[in-house]
Amino acid sequence: MAAGEIFQGYRRERGLPGVRNVVAIIPSVFCANTVARRIADQVAGTIAFCHPVGCSQVGLDLELTARGLKGLGANPNLYGTVVVGLGCERLRPRELAEGIAAAGKPVEMVVIQEEGDTLRAIEKGVALAGRMAEEAGRQQREPFPLSELALGLKCGGTDATSGIAANPALGWVSDRLVAAGGTAIFTEVTELIGAEQILAGRGTSPQVSGEILTTIGAMEQRLAAATAGAEFKHRSALISPGNEDGGVTTVAEKALGGITKAGTGPISGVLGYGQYPAGSGLYLLDCVGHDGEAVTGLVASGCQLVVFTTGRGTPTGFPGVPVIKITGNSATFTRMRFNLDFDAGPIVAGASIAEMGAVLFAKVLSVASGEPARAELLGHDELFCITRI
């Protein structure tokens, strides 16, 4: 394998290798958050994924929580998981633990009501997490081909440079990775309205093209229903004031600039929330555009790494998954230097997309191999956010 064609990762029993190697402490319900956080506080190499859901939910809402947390637990960057339950919640801790174990991962479980109280649950959790972190720490990185990489594509804080520079550069990277047998996933279906015909034209089969149209059409209907009342008219804009200030006028303009980050290649399929792709290629994930929900969705579909383009500049990150920030706005890059990893601004000044794309691709492989992204250095972790209905 030639340099530039590999990355260094952590081998897993099944599925893609990790580009990080963390032990997750995942509560099955928000009631277990404090116990989960205190276990993570006491064991280096672990991360608590606290969230506000897991009970008093029904139907699709509860199902999305279950799929999201199982998908998270199955992510290649996690060595293994300690599930922390309360005991009476609707998302049963055993269901979550079994769902994660089905991906071939080490899983342990602590249930507060079974252990007796907070202190005893923490004590047991620390012992289990400590043992798992010790095993994870013995692993060494090994070289893997690009076909073992799944990259999430995201944008946020869009301005007019996003569609000219940062997104096309990321699109070049996406095309390059998919051509090498790797996987790329884009989402933000709320932000694809106006670009659905172009995307449907890129489906690998009539069935995929139909799924793309259905997915975007359903999202548009859902938004129309949510903003139908007269009292919500002032809350119906799908683009933010920052987008408008930056020169983006309409949702279609934002969509057309946004889809350039998914390159120009064929789209192999549409993924449901928490669903992993069946093979390599470019996939569309059915999830809203909210930065946290979308990145969580990408992680819960197995992305080991996310590249996030931003014109206005955003500092956010995801625990255990590098989120590489790139901007096409050199002024933003200078102003938010410590938050941003890559300046695609030279494209605005006339540099070629291929030239900057190749430099970005090398950066992606370096971060995959262990170089920390800025969001990791700064401890940004606010993007973990389970989607709801």
């Binding site: 301005d159 172009i198 119906s236 006028t249 309409t250 279609a252 057309l256």
Partner: protein
């Protein structure tokens, strides 16, 4: 001289790459080389300038596709933004 970029050959607007004042000469990078025109008003970095006169209801083309329609006649060199564009989708209360 201020600069602007025409992204796709089918576009009828360009993105200005400097803060432009009213009356400034703007050089637009296009598929056919540099085209220059006068800015009809101040236009901020990243915002759109009309490359030709547009009639009311004519599509605004960027990235080679329609992003909205002119809500009134737009002269060449004018700033194109919320005040002279309609797009029914995604903006039910404001379009």
């Amino acid at each position: 001289m201020a600069k602007a970029l025409k992204i796709d050959s089918r576009d009828n607007c360009a993105v200005v790459l400097d803060d432009v004042r009213q009356g400034d000469r703007v050089e637009v990078r296009t598929e056919a080389g540099i085209v220059s025109l006068n800015a009809g008003s101040a236009i901020a970095f990243g915002h759109k300038i009309a490359l030709a006169a547009l009639a009311a209801d004519q599509p605004i083309i960027k990235y080679g596709a329609e992003i909205g329609r002119a809500s009134a006649a737009i002269p060449a060199g004018a700033w194109i933004h919320l005040h002279n564009v309609t797009c029914r989708r995604g903006r039910e209360g404001r379009g």
